[in-house]
Amino acid sequence: MLRLPPFTYHRPKTAAEAAALHKEHGKQAMFVAGGTDLYPNMKRRHQVPTHVVSLQDVPGLTAIEQLPDGRLAIGAMVSLTTLEKHLQLLRDYPGLAHAIAEISTPLLRNMGTIGGNLLLDTRCTYYDQSHEWRESIDFCMKKDGAICWVAPGSPRCWAVQSSDSVPVVCAMEAEFELVSTEGTRTVRGDALYRDDGIEYLTKKPEEVLTRLILPKTGGWKASYLKLRRRDTYDFPVLGVGACVWTDAGGVVTKANIRLGGAGSYAIPATESEKLLVGNQLTDELIAAAGTAAMKPARTMDNTDLDVYWRRKVAPVFVARALAACK
């Protein structure tokens, strides 16, 4: 049986206390929410924190709250199952609700949290392996080794952004509330993430993600379309998050398209976005925007399914995601 390495377990009562505990133990500490990402990683010795800081006792993190300005604040510890079935989310943010319902399996959604999914470790078929397996390839730079097997000449790690919620949340320009010993700050959308398989977050390690804040509804529509082998279990090997703002006449005023599962962060399909702005969302335009998404879909050979095929079908997936924003 695969087992966890030993660690000291903490259950602080406030976010500030959690941040302080993390700061105290530095690199030896990690936060845990649902445990569905961290514990498998620990069993495979990707992460071996000697101090695990659980956020389950921090009050307020399981709340879903309508803010006075119309935005919706979701506590980081709200379970994915709760969100997937949440009536307001289903009504006002169906794209996000759909993305959440597409995450792994019902059992893991019962345990996993939105905060955990937003901060999901990047994945790679050279990395998501047991310690013994990784020993057979002399490890990789993400853990215990020196090179990136996906691009051996590369100075960086190319592990893949694999969260289903991130592409759509970034496309929607949602905000993240972070708490540390120094106070609370908010970052918006893409700003939380970095294009690096190892340092994939801009958040400081001791900062606690406390809330996801969704923008006010009206004037925009978001969608998510996922490519994977099976309709459950699997991480996205391409996850298109799209958000389109239109004026009263149906003319696109702004569009965000993010490609998940294609690189170390949710990659913007900038050319496609540009094509849309100022135009009506016609079938022809959608197809053209899809085609333009092939270039940024820089898929790498470190997930399930063929790398070139994933790239070739990206236009189809982008077009279908955009069609769902009509």
């Binding site: 695969l2 047991s130 013994e132 090179i147 082998r229 399914l305």
Partner: protein, 846 residues
């Protein structure tokens, strides 16, 4: 205890008995009824004890340190740091277990721990036992092994091209493990008669069993010098043999193997395994119980799954589509060890003739040693790969000639009660009926070739394929003339019937099969019986749960034991009641006079009568399959007491923009001979559809092939539950199953197999359905989305609308198969021998 009085035992074949093979359904009380399995309630209550559920006081936990390189000589092993770790109680290396073993007598090429050479990433090198599993794992990390790396042999083409370095110092030559070359009839004449000839190349990627239960074993060596091992094995008898061999001089009768209920096997627990032998040795070394429970990744290293097979098939048909000749080449990627590979190689050529009459047939097979986890028998053992090739090729022929693919199969059916070109004896044969069922059920004639669109723009297609499978291998692994299955019955005064048998329940219901057969013959409630199985100390030998042999072989042995018990009891009752024994009826747990049903007694009272007359009541039964008609070298693989048949139609819906497809519905008809239990047989059909669908769509054992610091890295790409893709509840299609019953005279109550056959046609049917939908051929398994897309792209670009291995000369490796063994077919007056076979020296009998 066993009564063996010729006066009360009768020969097996009784034509007057109500349990003859073609008994009327209404005459049977147990057989054919949907009675629940004898162990079902324990399983749903979580009370079934699988191997890893067992523990003992003072038990140690063992871990294996496995090779991290694909091919290397072991220069040195330093275990001193591991030995110093607190809690470590025992360390074994290859020198502690020097005797090799292997499932087949011809390939004793494995060691529990590699003594001098490692042959794949995952090959075990050191075993460490400690008080906690974590300590054993940590201790393994402290072992220093120095390797001298050897060139890696990475697959079929490399195996053919590189004679050096050899993985093993036996085999045909270089890295060729086996070469077979069998020619039946006159190929030249056959092709001369053909109006149409096709040659196609196919590839079937390897895949694995993925049983939900990870292998585990618990070994205990007691102070009386007796060893007991509880293990997740489908073949306790062969594990017993391997332990007796490798633990020499421990006498075989000091070794007790108990096979726990298997949490799924599918062939993956049919070999004796290194971890079992190492655990046994460790228990002897430490004097404490030793448990090893493999991780999921280690289950992938055990493997013994489907061989990757490259195939080239040349087929000739006359103008009505009747097959005149078949010339079939198969190239098997065997992985690092022999395992069942010799048999697997023959199986890639054995059963082509059992579905369709092939007048002239040439089979050439080559198996290569490569630096991968060893391949072996997975559900269908060696036959799904050629079945895929043949069924897709027939589909192509039908298209070429404008014949309905269902019709071309019906026109080519092998006749019942016949000998095939390769001397396999067909008995009952319900394939025609199977085809008719699925054709009618699916609306094949109306819906095929219509390319209907679904609401979301997908294109529908239907594909048809057929298959056949053995009801147990006609020849045993050890050619010793002994029975393949033995059953012992004990009748208690309470009325309890206890069945003792070496067979192993892997979920297929073999324990229950015993109770249904004995229950029918003795007229007692199967759920009231006790079954003691798979314990080499207590139960007579049964060769194991593989090759779909249990229902027919164990079933016939149980039948014989039950008939003998019935005769004894009947004699006792006849005296008591003053009624002729022949007039007695055994039913509803009573024994009574057929002419006056009130005149009788309970079964328990009947046993008492018999016991008073004869003493303790116990009987035995055994089964040996009929002699094979094939007498040529290699004719030992393929014969079976009977063959099951399956036909399927699969519906697909293909997204033409991406190649992504789904399978919403499957129609599957299976000729089972007779369903001993309708509901349980249905479960086997549905389970086969499921596993076949997984193979067709997604499952594959693929390897990472990279170079690092001058060395080649060659390791299984995805040894996990998540990344080895296996269909979920959401991928499972609706299945319409048809149980076709063509009673077979060699089966108990006419039964044939059902556990493997219905898997076989799934893969070609999916490929054929894709073609029907979007007009492209994927000649490679799995038919994954990207391959459909690539074929669609090729079609769009005006190239051949196909994805698959090259049909050109480079598509298959150049292999000198040598001279063929030439065998005259039955219709040429052949007698089953090869006319050019060198005389073999007669081995000492038995």
């Amino acid at each position: 205890m066993v009564l063996d009085d010729p006066a009360v035992t009768t020969p097996q074949a009784r034509t007057d008995a109500p349990w003859r093979h073609d008994a009327k359904k209404e005459d049977l009380n147990v057989i054919g009824k949907p009675i629940r399995k004898v162990d079902a309630r324990s399983k749903v209550a979580g009370l079934t004890r699988f191997a890893d559920d067992l523990s003992m006081p003072r038990m140690l936990h063992m871990k294996l340190l496995r090779s991290t390189v694909a091919h290397a000589e072991i220069v040195s092993i330093d275990t001193s740091k591991a030995a110093a770790l607190k809690g470590v109680k025992g360390i074994l290396t290859g020198k502690d277990l020097p005797i090799p073993f292997g499932i087949l007598p011809v390939s004793q090429d494995e060691h529990a721990l590699c003594p001098d050479k490692v042959r794949f990433v995952g090959d075990p090198v050191v075993a460490i036992a400690a008080t906690e599993e974590e300590i054993a794992w940590e201790a393994c990390r402290l072992v220093e092994v120095e390797y001298r790396e050897l060139r890696t042999i990475g697959g079929i083409h490399e195996g053919a091209a590189n004679d050096e370095p050899r993985l093993h110092d036996y085999g045909v030559r270089g890295n060729i493990h086996r070469l077979e070359n069998l020619e039946f009839g006159d190929l030249q004449d056959g092709f001369a008669k053909a109006a149409h000839v096709r040659e196609d190349t196919f590839f079937f990627e390897g895949n694995t069993h993925l049983p939900m239960e990870q292998h585990a074993s618990l070994a205990h060596f007691d102070k009386d010098g007796k060893l007991t091992i509880w293990s997740s094995t489908q073949t306790p008898h062969y594990l017993h043999r391997a332990l007796a061999r490798t633990l020499h001089p421990l006498p075989a009768h000091h070794i007790r193997v108990i096979a726990c209920p298997n949490g799924g096997g599918f062939g993956g627990k049919s070999d004796p395994f290194n971890h079992e032998i190492a655990a046994a040795k460790m228990a002897m070394l430490t004097g404490r119980p030793v448990k090893i429970a493999l991780t999921r990744e280690e289950v992938f290293w055990c493997h013994r799954g489907r061989h990757p097979v490259l195939m080239r098939s040349k087929i000739g048909v006359n103008k009505t589509g009747r097959i005149t000749a078949l010339d079939f080449h198969s190239y098997l990627d065997g992985g690092a060890y022999g395992s069942y590979g010799t048999a697997s190689t023959f199986y890639t050529g054995a059963l082509q003739t059992v579905t369709y009459a092939v007048d002239n047939y040439h089979f050439r097979g080559a198996r290569f040693f490569t630096n991968k986890a060893p391949c072996g028998p997975k559900r269908g053992h060696g036959t799904p790969q050629p079945r895929f090739a043949l069924e897709v090729q027939l589909d192509k022929i039908a298209c070429d000639l404008g014949i309905d693919p269902a019709q071309i199969r019906l026109d080519n059916l092998a006749p019942r009660d016949s000998l095939t070109a390769n001397f396999l004896r067909i008995g009952s044969m319900g394939l025609g009926q199977c085809i008719e069922k699925v054709v009618a059920g699916s609306g094949w004639k109306e819906r095929r070739g219509k390319q209907e669109r679904t609401k979301d723009g997908r294109i529908r297609g239907l594909g048809l394929a057929c298959s056949s499978y053995l009801s147990g291998a006609g020849l045993p692994i050890y050619w010793n003339g002994l029975p393949h299955s033995g059953v012992q019955l004990q009748l208690d005064r309470s009325g309890l019937v206890t069945v003792f048998c070496g067979s192993t329940d892997i979920g297929q219901g073999s324990d229950s099969v015993l109770t249904w057969i004995v229950g029918e013959v003795l007229g007692v409630d199967p759920l009231g019986m006790r079954v003691v199985t798979s314990d080499t100390d207590l139960t007579p030998v049964d060769l194991g749960s593989y090759s779909s042999r249990v229902t027919v072989m164990t079933g016939n042995a149980a039948m014989q034991a039950a008939e003998r018990a019935r005769d004894i009891v009947a004699k006792g009752v006849a005296d008591k009641l003053g009624v002729p024994a022949s007039r007695l009826v055994f039913a509803d747990s009573r024994v009574y006079d057929a002419e006056d049903p009130k005149k009788g007694m309970t079964f328990a009272e009947a046993v008492v009568c018999a016991e008073a007359k004869f003493g303790t009541i116990g009987t035995v039964g055994s089964y040996t399959p009929p002699k094979s008609a094939a007498k040529f070298r290699g004719g030992g693989v393929g014969p079976s007491p009977s063959y099951s048949y399956s036909a399927t139609v699969v519906e697909v819906e293909v997204d033409p923009d991406t190649g992504i497809y789904r399978v919403p519905k499957v129609w599957m008809a299976h000729d089972i001979g007779r369903a001993l239990n309708a509901a349980i047989a249905m479960g086997q059909i549905e389970g086969s559809v499921y596993m076949g669908l997984g193979e067709a769509m997604m499952e594959e054992m693929v390897y990472r092939d990279r170079t690092h610091k001058g060395n080649r890295i060659f390791v299984h790409k995805i040894p996990s539950m998540l990344e080895y893709k296996s269909p979920s509840a959401l991928e499972m299609p609706e299945v319409v199953s048809y149980v076709v019953e063509d009673y077979d005279k060699n089966g108990p109550f006419g039964a044939k197999e059902v556990g493997q056959g219905p898997l076989l046609p799934m893969m070609p049917a999916v490929a054929n359905a894709i073609y029907d939908a979007v007009g492209v051929r994927v000649d490679e398994i799995p038919v994954s989305f990207e391959k459909v897309f690539a074929a669609l792209q090729a079609k769009k670009e005006g190239k051949e609308a196909r994805f698959g291995p090259s049909n050109g000369p480079d598509g298959v490796p150049e292999v000198d198969f040598g001279d063929s063994l030439k065998i005259k077919t039955p219709w040429q007056g052949g007698d089953g021998t090869a006319w050019n076979e060198p005389k073999r020296e007669k081995k000492a009998a038995k």
